[in-house]
């Protein structure tokens, strides 16, 4: 059981810390804008950021994270494309109500690829399949609750 914990702990620690704080790791191979998208999506899916909530301005979040304005703007744009944010000019980015779309076969296939790659990486690092199943279940339950 212990071998699966680092997977989940590291993921949460390096993306989201607490309800209203976002963390990114600039040493990570994952680009900063992608980490911002992933971190915010966890809060959006988990309901920590509810419809109507306002996010910090691009300028403010870029200042806090010490990254270029375009990095944050790109992350907000991607989340807006997914239907999570309303980015009207002159207003703060606002969380909007979003109906979960039916997953397409492409979406499920991409998830399968990514999951297999991550699972292989963790197995290569010595994790057990049962531990990974348990971690996966825990993550899904936490985000759904």
């Amino acid at each position: 059981m212990t071998s699966c914990l680092p997977l989940y702990t590291v993921y949460v620690q390096y993306t989201v810390a607490g309800d209203l704080t976002l963390r990114i790791d600039l040493d990570s191979a994952v680009p900063a804008y992608r980490q911002i998208v992933d971190g915010l999506r966890i809060l959006l899916v988990g309901g920590k950021l509810e419809p109507g909530a306002e996010l910090p301005s691009v300028r403010r979040m870029a200042l806090d994270l010490g990254v270029h304005f375009n990095t944050v703007a790109e992350a907000y744009r991607l989340l807006a494309e997914e239907g999570w944010l309303d980015l009207r000019h002159g207003r703060s980015a606002r969380v909007v109500y979003r109906d979960a779309p039916d997953p397409t076969s492409d979406t499920l296939r991409e998830f399968g690829y990514r999951l297999r790659a991550l699972t292989a990486e963790m197995l290569a690092k010595g994790a057990f399949a049962e531990d990974l199943r348990s971690a996966m279940r825990t993550a899904a339950e936490e985000l759904e609750s």
Binding site: Y14, R23, I24, R60, D64, G66, V67
Partner: protein, 336 residues
Amino acid sequence: MKPVVAIFVPQLVFVAAIFQFMPLLTRSGIFFSATVDPEFPRSADGRRVLRSYRWQSGLWAIIAIGLAFVFPTRDPGLAVLAPIVIMIAGSGCSYWLKFREVHARYGQRRPEIRQAELSSQPTRASFLPWIWIPPFVAMAITAAYLQARWNELPMRFPVHWGADGQPNRWASRDPLTVFAPLLIGAGMNLFMLVLAWLFSRLSRNTVMRRITVRLLEVLLYPLTFTFIVVALLPLGLVVPIWLIPGIMLVCVAGLIYWSYRQMAAPAVADAVPDPQNDAYWKAGVFYYNPNDPAVFVAKRVGVGYTMNFASKWAWLVLALTLAIIVGSITLVKPAR
């Protein structure tokens, strides 16, 4: 002893003391501006580096104070300026060499974890009106007092004094001259508040921001005291020559001590920390990070803020500050 030296040596000693304690006026995990193990400063190597720096800095202080006695009094400006420049340059070089040594031999690299508050209303440093309003009220009361006793003001009075305490510039009685110290004082107070506001808007939510804003608010008091005393001098107010620099030194020393206590408090943590990589700190003191939109970042050593020299806004703020200083000097000169 020459009067200039008598006034100036205590100030040199004060600056020398600041240089002696400067490496300790920092956050845990930073030593000579380099990122190290938090326990390193207490290790044998850490103590050796600190001891070596203190010897070098002390030597520069002795040279500077010695020069203060040697320089001719015919040019008090040079007698004051040269020793302080030598002390700052010498101790600064010693500090830089120690930064290089600590960074190269004992430095650590921390993960580049960045953090942002996800609130549409970012936390701002709080300004306390009951701290910053009284100095302005005191200056307004002084102005009213001067106006009420206008006829008692002499037709000609000194407006500038040399380092030896003797007046070297005089002016005649007119509203601009009489109220000039109060106007300049109010302007300087306002400038300090604007600076605090800029730190609040253009920097991250760190412990240093809270400390710096409060420090700038409290600094209005010794400044206001100085300008009120100068404004009242034409009415015959007699003050010892050491009073103003003495009060300033006591205030600055007290504020540095208070800041150190705040920074060293064990429960203190930055809500949104500044980037921690040593690579952004040129010579340990100049922050240069083109990817960081922050204009101001908390200093690694000492109290207050430095600028992100990769930001054009930082250079604009620097140019404006210089313009205000030069403008103030130019404004005062016509009173000659």
